[in-house]
């Protein structure tokens, strides 16, 4: 069976959930071979093997952390040369897309980004995309070279599928031309203890209606009662009420959770672009004309400062 390269997104060997989703999708089109760059490949390999990786190609080099993107492209290309895969799958993060794009140029292949599903087809893998702020669903494929496809988080439920997951060292030479962009310093983001926004099953977002940073704890309390991530509209972010990393939308994160709750958000097209594929959508807004209500499965017309705390109390009571 043909091999499929899966680029591993991890933090110090802790494999992030989107990678497990990629392995699940990869098994539909071939045998997943994971590419792990950086330290702690052995730890990662255990999880990768449980989810179907027949092999883990591992490489660690200081250049991965010292320079932006390009050294990782060199490594992925080395994996590509070693395996001659039927497809290459990467997570649709900013970096995943950039690595995929540069690899595509090098190997003379097309690239599809932001797929929400991947299936086997007669003429190679078929990718589903959700485009124009999720108003269209397209099916596309790559016609030249080896398909390079980046996949959005929450596109598949990770399935367990034990496989060998043997770790093999990958020899990588980082080209001088790949050392063009130096990473001079790095400030890690503080963890909030809440689930990662793009991976969360439930997201609770606040917008301009929250009316001040000092009121965001109202949103956070509901999120915590549901075990959810916290999102924000750009209006809330631009006002400095919540960090940009929590922005949902076209220029923020795109989320696709089981449940999305929007409080005090009007539902502008750029916000919808980032949340319209959520399975169940709930909105709380005091304006019954707000466009967000066109999308909802359940909407409450009311003051969020009344509705949200009441909901939080009710959730806590029911959960005991």
């Amino acid at each position: 069976m043909a091999e499929v390269l899966v680029y591993v997104d991890h933090v110090d060997g802790a494999v992030r959930k989107p990678t497990l989703e990629l392995l699940t999708l990869a098994r539909r089109i071939g045998e997943p071979v994971a590419v792990h760059l950086g330290a702690h490949a052995d730890e990662a390999a255990k999880v990768l093997a449980e989810h179907g990786a027949v092999k883990v190609l591992a490489a660690d080099a200081p250049e991965f952390a010292e320079y932006l993107v390009a050294p990782k492209v060199d490594a992925l290309q080395a994996a590509y040369d070693a395996v001659s895969p039927a497809a290459v799958l990467l997570p649709s993060s900013a970096e995943g897309k950039e690595i995929g794009a540069r690899l595509a140029v090098r190997i003379g292949s097309g690239i599809i980004t932001d797929a929400v599903d991947v299936e086997a087809g007669d003429e190679g893998p078929v990718a589903t995309q959700s485009v124009f702020a999720a108003s269209y669903t397209t099916k596309s494929r790559i016609t030249k070279g080896t398909p390079v496809i980046t996949v959005k988080p929450n596109s598949a439920a990770p399935e367990a599928a034990p496989a060998a997951g043997t770790v093999e060292q990958l020899a990588v030479t980082v080209a001088d031309s790949s050392k063009g962009t130096k990473i001079v310093s790095r400030t890690p983001r503080e963890s909030t203890g809440r689930p990662e926004l793009t991976e969360a099953a439930i997201v609770v977002s606040g917008g301009r209606g929250v009316n001040g940073a000092e009121n965001f704890p109202v949103i956070e309390a509901l999120a915590d009662s549901l075990g959810a991530a916290v999102g924000a509209s750009r209006a809330a972010v631009d006002a400095g009420w919540y960090p940009h990393t929590n922005q949902v939308g076209q220029t923020g994160k795109s989320v696709s959770p089981q449940l999305y709750i929007a409080a005090g958000i009007s539902g502008a097209i750029q916000h919808r672009a980032g949340m319209q594929t959520s399975k169940t959508i709930v909105a709380i807004n005091k304006d019954e004309e707000a466009p967000i209500f066109d999308l909802v499965d359940y909407g409450v017309v009311g003051d969020l400062f009344e509705v949200v705390p009441a909901l939080t109390d009710e959730v806590k009571t029911r959960k005991g």
């Binding site: 124009f132 269209y136 070279g145 310093s185 940009h244 672009a273 959508i281 009344e306 009441a310 959730v315």
Partner: protein, 261 residues
């Protein structure tokens, strides 16, 4: 010694309009008014600020697109760019990302450059890969997704705010930069700027000028193919209740029914 800045800008269908696909599954550009991608206004703004900080710099705005794409160039010129290059050719219809990057790279080389500035993503394709593709094709550093950027002493520096960390980046020129909408509000064209833009030169190039064969681009030459595009069915109207004191409880009831609680 002049700093040559090329800003890549895209002409896109207005996102607030009802965007559609044409019969050949390319974007229907007659259906909805086009405009300069709002995210590229941030690229023009940063280029203008870099120029203002430099002794001597010149900004060329570059677009690949149909005749109407000229509007995007005019907007950028009225914001303060110096001149424009428009790559226009019937054979470009249906070009994908790999093809667009090929055309842009050749046009950038022909124009001459020290710095290429892009937006973080177009508002139609929203791939966010063009700057990386350009860096690969031009074989120069990519300094992308910047929320802060500056150029001095032949170097570009900037801040990239990622998922797990915020990084400070540095590269020697020539380089490709892309900037996010966090980089700073774009200025509005002044009346004077709009009048001046009318006199600024717009150079028109076709595939032959760039020594690109027709079959390397367009629908036929594309590396990807769209087989199907279906309009998403409108959501069935949800339940909407007015809060009369019980809104929170009712919502909890709904969530419990859906097994979220």
């Amino acid at each position: 010694m002049s700093l040559r800045i090329v800003v890549c800008v895209k002409y896109v269908p207005d996102a607030t309009g009802d965007r559609h696909f044409a019969e050949d599954l390319t974007v229907d550009r007659d259906d909805v008014d086009g405009l300069l991608s709002e995210l590229d206004e941030y690229a023009v703004e940063q280029a203008l600020q870099i120029k203002e900080a430099a002794d001597d710099a010149e900004i060329t705005v570059l677009t690949v697109g149909p005749e109407d794409a000229n509007d995007a160039l005019r907007k950028a010129l009225s914001m303060g760019a110096d001149k424009a290059v428009h790559v226009e050719d019937d054979d470009l219809h249906g070009t994908d990302a790999l093809g667009t990057s090929l055309v842009l790279a050749k046009a950038i080389e022909k124009t001459g450059y020290d710095l290429v500035v892009c937006g973080m993503a177009s508002t139609d394709g929203t791939m966010g890969v063009l700057p990386a593709l350009l860096a690969e094709r031009l074989n120069i550093p990519q300094v992308t997704q910047l929320s802060e950027v500056s150029v001095a002493d032949g170097k570009v520096t900037g801040r990239r705010d990622g998922d797990t960390a915020s990084e400070q980046l540095e590269a020697a020129l020539p380089a490709v930069v892309s900037v996010t909408d966090q980089s700073g509000e774009a200025r509005y064209p002044s009346f004077k700027g709009i009048m001046a833009a009318k006199k600024k030169p717009v150079e028109s190039l076709d595939l032959e000028d760039l020594e690109i064969e027709a079959d390397e681009v367009g629908l036929e030459g594309a590396w990807t193919k769209v087989d199907d595009a279906t309009e998403r069915p409108a959501r069935t109207a949800g339940t909407i209740v007015k809060d009369e004191g019980e809104g929170g409880k009712q919502l909890a009831e709904f969530l419990a029914g859906q097994k979220f609680i």
